[in-house]
């Protein structure tokens, strides 16, 4: 195995670690409201969070997702390595396809989830929330693979919303409309090599663009020029968090603790407890955590992530969840008022026995501050399908030309 770290040493000492799009994002960030993501500095809000949210739902939003951890896995045993790493069958992933996948430690507890790109027979790219080079290196013992940290070398943009396809076509991505969900293809945009995948974290029609760091600013400019008619707008992380909640997507170390950070062994979460059993394939041969997961499957989950629809319109962020108003059965990890669904929605982790009860009498303890005065609400909640927002356009190929 060969491990290429590619760390940009000097950057660690800078207060602001810019992404390849920083010159463009900083010019567009009117609010000066920044946040850090995996060590990088990115806008949380450019101007107005609500406006940015509606940009994605109604036209097209541009998100700088360069801080995503990106790893390239190449070599004769790349497929065998990925298959032993992931809980799903990497052999079924064809070149030109992308898959949502997760990976576990020996205890069957999820370390992180992300998207796996198959760029060639012996060529994969793994994109995820947390730094994973350590885990990937440790997993590579005995495999003929080369693992490269591409995080700093690649700029990444999420281009999401109903008009995303139309703008990309105008920008020069010929045939982009034939891309099915989870397809990935290389394009040449007047001399710039761009990989475009029909993937995203917003639950809407959308694409993600992967480009060499040096070409990143030019790509940004091209997209905005091509989209003049459709008015693409930069979108910050605050809006993304709402968008992904509506889509029912979970975030590592927000909605569940990564096994790498769990100090107590029983705090780790199995894929079953995340509601992602569809991503576990016991028939594909051995993978890390398989034996523990077989046992976990036999014992059944102890907790479950569920989606809640809560009465009133006050977001229930971090609230405790009670059964029958008394017994504490879980807590909320992400919550918001959904402007599109017009519902007060949340993701919560509940005891499995409660989560599986038919119509449990759930109450959510919400604290609301009005003019610096706190009020406590005990709001009723019911368990609903996790995909709060799931439009047909997300799946249709070719997408309608909005």
């Amino acid at each position: 195995m060969i491990i290429r770290r590619n760390t940009v040493e000097a950057r660690h000492r800078e207060a602001v670690r810019p992404t390849p799009f920083h010159t463009r994002t900083s010019a567009a960030c009117l609010s000066n409201e920044w946040t850090t993501w995996a060590g990088y500095t990115v806008p949380n809000v450019y101007d107005d969070m609500t406006y940015e949210y509606f940009t994605v739902r109604n036209q097209v939003g541009v998100l700088d997702i360069s801080p995503l951890s990106k790893y390239r896995v190449r070599g004769p045993e790349a497929e065998a390595f990925m298959n032993r790493l992931l809980t799903r069958d990497a052999r079924k992933l064809s070149p030109g396809r992308v898959a949502y996948a997760l990976w576990c430690n020996d205890d069957g507890h999820v370390i992180d989830d992300g998207t796996v790109f198959r760029l060639g027979e012996e060529d994969f790219r793994l994109c995820c929330q947390e730094h994973q080079l350590g885990w990937l290196s440790r997993s590579a013992l005995g495999f003929d693979v080369e693992i490269e940290d591409e995080t700093a070398a690649l700029g990444a943009l999420a281009f999401q919303g109903p008009t995303s396809c139309a703008v990309l076509r105008r920008a020069g991505c010929e045939g982009i409309e034939t891309l099915r969900p989870f397809d990935t293809r290389d394009f040449d945009l007047q001399g710039i090599a761009v990989t475009v995948s029909r993937t995203g974290f917003t639950g809407d029609l959308g694409y993600e663009l992967w480009v060499a760091a040096a070409d990143a600013p030019v790509l940004w400019d091209r997209l905005f020029e091509a989209g003049a008619l459709h008015d693409p707008r930069p979108v910050g992380l605050a809006a993304l968090d709402l968008l992904r909640l509506e889509a029912g997507f979970i975030v590592t170390n927000t909605d569940y603790v990564s096994a790498e950070l769990a100090l107590r062994r029983n705090r780790g979460r199995t894929p079953f407890e995340l509601g992602l059993e569809r991503l576990v394939d016991f028939e594909k041969g051995h993978f890390t955590g398989r034996r523990a997961l077989l046992e976990a499957q036999r014992q059944g989950p102890r907790r479950l992530i569920v989606a809640l629809d809560i009465e009133h319109n006050k977001p229930a962020q971090d609230a405790l969840v009670y059964l029958g108003g008394k017994k504490q059965v879980g807590h909320i990890t992400t919550a918001a008022w959904s402007p599109t669904c017009k519902r007060n929605i949340a993701l919560a982790t509940l005891e499995a026995v409660t989560a599986r009860r038919p119509n449990p009498d759930l109450r959510v303890e919400i604290y609301v501050k009005k003019e610096l005065k706190w009020r406590r609400l005990m709001a009723r909640a019911k368990i609903v399908d996790r995909r709060f927002f799931d439009p047909e356009r997300r799946r249709t190929t070719p997408p309608a030309d909005y």
Binding site: R84, N105, D106, G142, F143, H286, T288, R291
Partner: protein
């Protein structure tokens, strides 16, 4: 051609033979596979000059499991002792040697201060009490941590109870010293440098530790748990050389109906549906088996025979990180005349001889090892087995066997460049204690840790298939998750020195592993 067995054992060293014999005695169809041309592993003899049979690697028995000897009726299969209950002579450059009686009893030879005599009497008795506390635990399958099972926790409770039963003062002392270093232990109570070093030698023999390395008291206690005919830690010399032990074991295996095949190197264990279903030999032959037991070191067993593809990532890492850097070499000499160690009488010449002048001398030799250099005067354990057992050398000739401590696996400059000089310096070191020895050398064999790895296949050439240290003993041997003979691969077991209780010529690991296999069969 393919064949099928209830159990296939990889490696015909003492543990492999013991495991195979127990299974065969229980009525299983057993095949023991050996990569070399003859059985024996680290308990083998070979001829290095016409008529000169040397103990190639290990040369003494001192904690051979008495239950194994009884169950396998090894004495009926030809195990005899040329010399039992050997004393130790710690050699002094000026001829004022120290004699430690068999079983740690009695000190003699050089003038020992009265304070040392009484201190040693207290200390050796105390160490033996501690060893008895540990001994019961060593014979058992260690508990699996975090399993919460009653059986597992009971074993832990029993150890706790045994420590408690030592009494308040002994318990405190046990807990105080058990993880500390052996130099502190002996320097606290004893004055004589030869005596200090002789005790320390037993704590570091075969390991990559110096007397001042943390955790060296535990291996000392572990060695004291052995007993030879009721005498704790007494050394014995098998008649006909150490190879006679494994010959007797091979006889027991045959009598029990088990088969042995030599020159059959296993390339990999066949794993189907997360279960070991047999082995594939280097020539491609497949042998199907209900259970596969490996007596080779756990690092190779997991990473080469099973392969990381069949293992969880952290598990494979733990296998890869077993500490097993060999630090022990072997010097075997064929001599045309008896070596005469000055200052020892005729009977003393045939005892176990130690060259370890002081703790500091040992530590200095260990320093060289740390940096991949050759020690100037490495500590040695010397036996002249032909004095008690003339059958292993031609008339008038003798065999000298020396275990040489603190020899690096990878030496600076490479072994080819320094091997000859090092061998000469070792013989010169012996010559200083036994004048005339050099001129009587007929043939010499130096086996470095690298040679041992090549010949026996043990990673790093480590004598114990993994350092004997607190973090790799008991329920952590060879590492957490693999410590109960059974492994995550159903049907694949560890039965060698890399499993609990560990190295030296004990046979307990082989016996425990066989019992585990039979118990597992019973439950499925």
């Amino acid at each position: 051609m393919s064949s099928s067995f209830d159990a296939v054992v990889i490696g015909a060293g003492h543990n492999g033979l013991v495991a195979g014999t127990y299974l065969a005695k229980a009525g299983r169809k057993v095949l023991v596979l050996e990569a070399c041309g003859s059985p024996g592993g680290a308990a083998a003899s070979e001829e290095i000059a016409p008529g000169y049979q040397v103990p190639t690697y290990a040369h003494l028995l001192f904690n051979l499991d008495p239950v194994v000897v009884r169950d396998l009726r090894l004495e009926r299969h030809g195990l005899r002792y040329a010399k039992g209950a050997m004393a130790t002579a710690a050699l002094d450059r000026d001829g004022r040697h120290l004699i430690i009686g068999e079983g740690l009893e009695g000190l003699g030879g050089r003038g020992i201060a009265a304070t040392d005599l009484s201190a040693w009497s207290d200390m050796s008795a105390r160490l033996r009490r501690f060893a008895v506390t540990l001994a019961a635990f060593l014979a058992k399958t260690p508990p699996r941590l975090g399993s919460g099972g009653w059986d597992e926790n009971r074993t832990l409770l029993e150890l706790g109870w045994k420590i408690r039963r030592l009494g308040r003062d002994d318990m405190r002392e046990f807990l105080r010293v058990v993880l500390s270093n052996v130099a502190d232990l002996v320097e606290d109570e004893l004055e004589d440098p030869l005596l200090q070093a002789a005790i320390a030698f037993d704590a570091v023999l075969g390991g990559w530790t110096g007397p001042r390395s943390p955790g060296t008291v535990l291996p000392l206690l572990y060695r004291l748990t052995g007993d030879s005919a009721g005498l704790p830690a007494a050394r014995r010399l098998p008649q006909g050389g150490v190879g006679a032990l494994t010959q007797a074991m091979a006889g027991a295996l045959r009598e029990a109906g088990g088969s042995l095949r030599c020159d059959a190197r296993v390339a990999r264990v066949r794993v189907e549906g997360d279960r070991a279903t047999g082995v594939v030999l280097e020539d491609g032959e497949t042998i199907a088996a209900g259970s596969v037991l490996s007596s080779i070191d756990p690092k190779r067993a997991f990473l080469e025979l099973i392969g990381p593809h069949h293992l969880d990532a952290e598990f494979a890492q733990r296998a890869n990180q077993i500490r097993m850097k060999g630090a022990t070499a072997k010097l075997n000499l064929a001599l045309s005349a008896p070596p005469l160690f000055s200052g020892l009488d005729t009977t003393q010449q045939a005892e176990r001889l130690l060259i370890a002048p002081s703790i500091d001398d040992m530590e200095v030799a260990f320093n060289a090892l740390k940096y991949g250099e050759l020690p100037q005067t490495p500590p040695m354990e010397i036996v002249v087995p032909s004095l008690a057992d003339p059958s292993i050398a031609p008339d008038g000739g003798h065999v000298l066997s020396a275990v040489v401590q603190y020899v690096p696996f990878a030496v600076k400059g490479g072994w080819d460049a320094v091997r000859e000089d090092f061998q000469t310096s070792l013989i010169a070191q012996l010559e200083a204690y036994a004048p005339g020895l050099k001129d009587s050398v007929v043939a010499a064999q130096l086996l470095t840790p690298a040679d041992i790895e090549e010949r026996l296949g043990t990673s790093g050439g480590h004598w114990h298939h993994g350092e004997l240290a607190a973090d790799q003993m008991l329920m952590l041997r060879p590492f957490q998750g693999a410590a109960q003979y059974a492994t995550p691969i159903d049907g694949f077991y560890l039965c060698g020195a890399g499993a609990h209780p560990g190295g030296d010529l004990m046979g307990t690991a082989g016996r425990n592993a066989a019992r585990r296999v039979l118990r597992r069969e019973g439950t499925t």
